[in-house]
């Protein structure tokens, strides 16, 4: 794991640009065939919800970017168990077709095993 990278997606979609710009960085990384794992935690969980309709606020759906993950070779995302629970969101609300959603109960131990952490 000497050059393994994980991106922490902590911000909700739409209120600020950082969630979108974070995903763009992740997709670029995947497109360049660098292995990158994704951990959704905190309000980043909200990026995963289905039925987002941001057209009326003049934005494009961020979930569309997530639906593109398998095309970029990302077939698994990690989701923080406690973050889901704190927001009363169930695992079936955060599914992405073609992607395995794996819940993490000890995110600290997971993060410590990576060489590089990107934060968005």
């Amino acid at each position: 794991m000497s050059h393994s990278t994980i991106a922490l997606c902590r911000t909700p979609p739409y209120g600020s640009a950082i969630a979108r710009e974070g995903l763009e960085a992740v997709l670029t990384s995947a497109a360049m065939e660098q292995e990158i794992d994704l951990l959704f935690l905190g309000d980043g969980i909200f990026q995963l919800l289905d039925h987002q309709s941001p057209e009326e606020i003049g934005q494009k759906s961020l979930r569309r970017n997530l639906l593109a993950l398998p095309m970029f070779g990302i077939e698994q995302v990690l989701v923080c168990h406690k973050s889901l629970r704190d927001r009363t969101i169930t695992l079936d609300q955060v599914q992405i077709p073609g992607v395995e959603v794996k819940t993490i109960r000890e995110p600290g131990t997971l993060i410590a095993a990576y060489h590089c952490v990107l934060s968005f």
Binding site: Y14, G15, S16, A17, I57, G58, Q59, K60
Partner: protein, 130 residues
């Protein structure tokens, strides 16, 4: 009713810049008056003419300009906040010996007094930040 808006957020970076524009549109469509829109803090970037979003994304600067032309809006950018953030008129660029200017048409630079004046002359002030 006579409103003024205070906008503290940069376009694209925060949704509140676009919420301000939407609110302004609905206000005007409902027959209300906008005494002034005062752009402060990072909000001064709403008057940066070099902003170039991709074609399939909203161009907030162009939309403020359109609204300004249609309703003769008073769009004021705080001059001190703008200098610190790199938004300059031709005149300011010359005075500060900077190589270019980037203040968008339809916006004007002025002092904080214009915010104080807006507060004094409006029935409502709505702030957009974050």
């Amino acid at each position: 009713m006579k409103f003024s808006l205070a906008v503290y957020s940069a376009p694209y970076s925060a949704q509140s810049a676009s919420s301000a524009l939407r609110f302004a549109r609905v206000l005007l469509a409902q027959g209300h008056e906008i005494y002034r829109v005062f752009f402060y803090c990072d909000g001064v970037q709403n008057g940066n003419s070099l902003t170039a979003p991709p074609q399939d994304e909203t161009d907030l600067i162009a939309q403020w300009q359109e609204l300004q032309r249609r309703y003769h809006l008073d769009l004021v950018i705080c001059i001190a906040a703008a200098q610190r953030r790199g938004v300059l008129s031709e005149r300011e660029a010359k005075r500060l010996e900077k190589p270019a200017a980037n203040l968008a048409d339809g916006f004007e630079l002025a002092g904080l007094g214009q915010l104080v004046d807006a507060v004094a002359h409006s029935e409502r002030l709505v702030t957009f930040g974050g």
